[in-house]
């Protein structure tokens, strides 16, 4: 350990929130946030798996396919529904003592509004992350992102339901993520989470069939990191609200790339499948990297990329 490690100020401001460090978990890669409570305690914030108005069964198996430097998933937002989430998961989440960002999903704008209404009565929610980018559900997923005006309409309706921060989680499977991000900003989003998974596919040569029953799935893991980084840069040039960077982050150095490009926080996703406490490792590596270079704070690193 360098003598200065542990003295770096890791805290970041994210709109009205101040987080103890910039490392969050990505929705859907860390359960409800209570399965690995020790690991969760170290995060800057916990982002839950997506919660919907009614419970959802999710998609038939198999749901996972390993691919080069990553994996495809087609979970289909399996979750207990917002009523049971509030009753059974939220109390234990609050006990962890880390800001809670609830990822919300739905088939229609009314669904999203109903989820927020139910959560508004519950204490201890720091922000909502609006999942308008799931590639694995038939309705209410990625199509919200296909037309920026549709995304904007949804975000503005959620915005009207709450004083809490509203983050929009964006899909990379769009013509211009810059336009999409700007539409969400204008609709009242407080931050953008970029990006959700890329639509991908794998086939079984022997059986001549898709390896996922739904044919396509969402690609995550290190394979998408450079793609995600370029999307974050594009957003940075188009919006002024904070960006939470996500896509293939495994190490502290990976996270520092996103922060350098301008993300104010990052989410660790698929890497949690290798180690439930990978977020802690990323935080420690960020601390060490900055300490070794006598950089006093994460804030003084964010957005300092020099181009051209």
């Amino acid at each position: 350990m360098s003598p200065e490690a542990g003295r770096v100020d890791l805290s970041v401001r994210l709109g009205s929130l101040t987080l103890a460090n910039p490392v969050l978990c990505a929705s859907g890669t860390f359960g409800y946030g209570i399965e690995e409570a020790e690991a969760a305690r170290r995060l800057g914030a916990i982002v839950t798996k997506t919660v919907t108005r009614e419970s959802r069964a999710g998609n038939p198996p198999p749901r996972i396919v390993e691919t080069p430097a990553g994996m495809l998933n087609s979970i289909g937002l399996q979750n207990v529904g917002v009523v049971r989430f509030v009753a059974e998961k939220l109390p234990a989440l609050r006990d962890i003592g880390v800001p809670i960002v609830v990822s919300i999903g739905g088939r229609s704008a009314e669904d999203f509004e109903a989820v927020v209404e139910r959560l508004e009565d519950a204490p201890g929610v720091a922000a909502y992350e609006v999942n308008i980018s799931c590639p694995n559900v038939k309705e209410g997923g990625i199509e919200f992102c296909q037309v920026p005006s549709a995304a904007a309409e949804l975000i503005s309706r959620v915005r009207k339901k709450t004083m809490r921060p509203v983050w929009a989680k964006l899909s990379p499977n769009v013509t211009s993520i810059g336009h999409l991000g700007r539409a969400c900003e204008e609709a009242g989003a407080d931050a953008l989470t970029a990006i959700n998974t890329f639509v991908g596919m794998a086939v079984d040569l022997e059986r001549r069939r898709p390896r996922l029953p739904g044919v396509t799935g969402g690609l995550s893991g290190p394979a998408i990191r450079p793609l995600a980084l370029a999307r974050v840069r594009e957003l940075k040039r188009n919006v002024s609200i904070p960006i939470v960077g996500v896509g293939g982050i495994v190490s502290g150095r990976d996270a520092l790339e996103f922060l350098l490009v301008g993300a104010r926080a990052v989410q660790v996703g698929t890497a949690h499948f290798l180690r439930p406490d990978q977020g802690r490792i990323v935080i420690e590596e960020i601390d060490r990297f900055l300490a070794d270079r006598s950089i006093p704070s994460v804030e003084s690193w964010i957005g300092t990329l020099e181009e051209g």
Binding site: G28, I34, K49, A57, R63, A69, N73
Partner: protein
Amino acid sequence: MNPGAVVFDGRVSRIRRVGSAGTLIDITVPRGFVPPKAGQFAQIACGPPSAAFRLRRPFSICRWETGPSGGELGILFSVVGEGSRWLDERRPGDAVNLIGPLGQPYRPLPGRIPILLAGGRGVAPLLLLAEQIAESHPDGLLLYGARDASAIFPTEGCPYPVYRATLDGSVGHAGTAVDLLNAMLRQGGVRRETAALYGCGPMPMLHALSLLAAEASIPVQVSLETTFGCGTGLCAGCAVPLRAREGEETDSFHRYAFACTDGPVFDGARVEWQGIEE
């Protein structure tokens, strides 16, 4: 509150070939690794830490010995892909990173005679089960089916009598372990009134076993192998379709259980086999 899974650095103590297609690897693990119950598994990082991204692989634990500074677990496996090939290439002294023990074990039913049914490398958790319940259930049997003689792993040390079956009939009963069970039920070697079935093997075998158990009204527990993302309950990838219990009210969320945290051992009567790709 669940504190979560713990990651351990283990070390290979022995590795040897068994049969024509099997490898038995013994890994010493430090203190803190909770002694596994039969049916539980370990998630092994099958590659060096610096390697390109590779998901951990789940392996059933077939042997456990508590030692002065931790313990030693045994894994019995065949090479089926890149992950198991990496593990097969380990040598004594090599480091192996693992999480475990994970999952819900077999739940031995008191007062019933355990009939263990293994298909191929599915014998692994049943060897540990036999060892762990032999004292409380001394009258058990192991019915062990494999493709042919060369695919049978050694079962010496198993406290139960072992009856073998091979698909080509080269050793023991000609057919599967489930065919053998069927024959023994007919001949009275296994009595439905007193038996409890514990299975592990390929999905079609476990499906057939569960059907036979339902017909004969024998309780059955099966250990299912599915594709895992994490093995620790985070990813929701290892979905197993279940039927609702009679009279039980469930919401749609409960149509799918997770093999890693709700299983891998399930009540065979509750598995919705039609929803599983075999």
